[in-house]
Symmetry: C2
Subunit: 212 residues, 2 copies
């Protein structure tokens, strides 16, 4: 049965789940979540996911939320993307937690504040403060990729898929690829994977829909 991923194009957290499904070659379709129209705040959505977030995966009767859980489920179903042994599996998990804690959480918020809020509502001090914290995250990721093709082992894993979640988007949020050469080349390597797609091509919904 085809799995359904409830997601939307602007969501890097959704992208992490979508890209794992996609690169593992699973049978799935995206289902548009009208986040900007308030869909994730509705009682119906909350009854399925108390966290009120996208992505949400439906595989028959099984409902999973949190991109990291969906990424691990892809590994459970396919044996792919999770590392080759228990040591690599722990390293993959380590980057998934780091991404959730230090990278995607802040990158997603910053991109929202700098692009999807009306200009007169953007909190300047918050944006300046978060810029400093994001720079620390980019520094850590760039250092980890110095001399390595992939974050864990010799091939792409969920660690790479998690940490790149927000890094292909065109909207400015303080990330300039040229400033981070190891990240820059690693993003090219991920994008060269068979069946890779940009978030706006992999999932429905993008800023130009709302600009109409």
């Amino acid at each position: 049965m085809t799995m359904k991923l409830h997601c939307f194009g602007e969501s890097g957290n959704s992208y992490k789940a979508a890209l794992a499904l996609q690169l593992a070659g699973l049978d799935w379709v995206p289902v548009f979540v009208d986040f900007f129209g308030g869909a994730t705040r509705s009682p119906d959505y909350r009854s399925k996911n108390v966290m009120g977030e996208a992505p949400m995966l439906e595989d028959g009767d099984l409902v999973l939320t949190q991109s990291g859980v969906i990424q691990m489920y892809v590994t459970e179903k396919t044996g792919k993307l999770g590392g080759r042994d228990s040591q690599e599996a722990r390293e993959v998990m380590r980057w998934l937690f780091w991404d959730n804690h230090k990278m995607s959480s802040q990158a997603g918020m910053q991109r929202f504040l700098m692009n999807f809020l009306p200009e007169d509502k953007r909190p300047k001090e918050v944006i300046g403060f978060t810029a400093g914290r994001l720079k620390a995250a980019f520094t850590t990721l760039n250092a980890a990729l110095d001399g390595r093709d992939w974050l864990v082992g010799d091939g792409i894993t969920n660690a790479d898929i998690a940490c790149c979640g927000y890094l292909y988007y065109p909207e400015p949020f303080g990330f300039t690829r040229a400033d981070w050469p190891h990240i820059d080349r690693w993003l090219d390597r991920i994008a060269a994977q068979p069946h890779w797609k940009h978030p706006y091509d992999l999932m429905p919904g993008n800023p130009s829909d709302r600009a109409k």
Copy 2:
């Protein structure tokens, strides 16, 4: 062999790892990390952990970082705290990721800004903004605990240990137990577990050491 957990009392992220080791009855000792003295920024520490964070667990030659990974390792070693079947295990992971993304990341930062920075350096707009985001996190957690004793299944798991990481600290960061009755009673249930200790009793280092 006794495991070593590099940690410090003020770190709720360290507490999550320490409390999992403690409640699972493992043989471990805390090793003080002088975070406020810059220890996690040293080249020596970074060479062991590129992320430059506490906690860090040493079990013989094995070095693990990220509280979530250490929590999962406790389950791997003991069969405890990880949920009783694959569905519960996924639910536990779901809360671990949510905690890292929405709760501890923001609670830890907010507590730092409101208590451990000099008063004239506290960024007021950031603190106000983060207060709103934390309130959303407390709302989600309180709703999830409505009518339940534990976040997953019928007993304490790593999900509870992760989400409570910052909630026993006395320093103000916008969390008042009386405002969140389901969280309040759940914190009492966790504290009633055999061998439970408060973070300042379980790990070395607390604000009064630095006030001397």
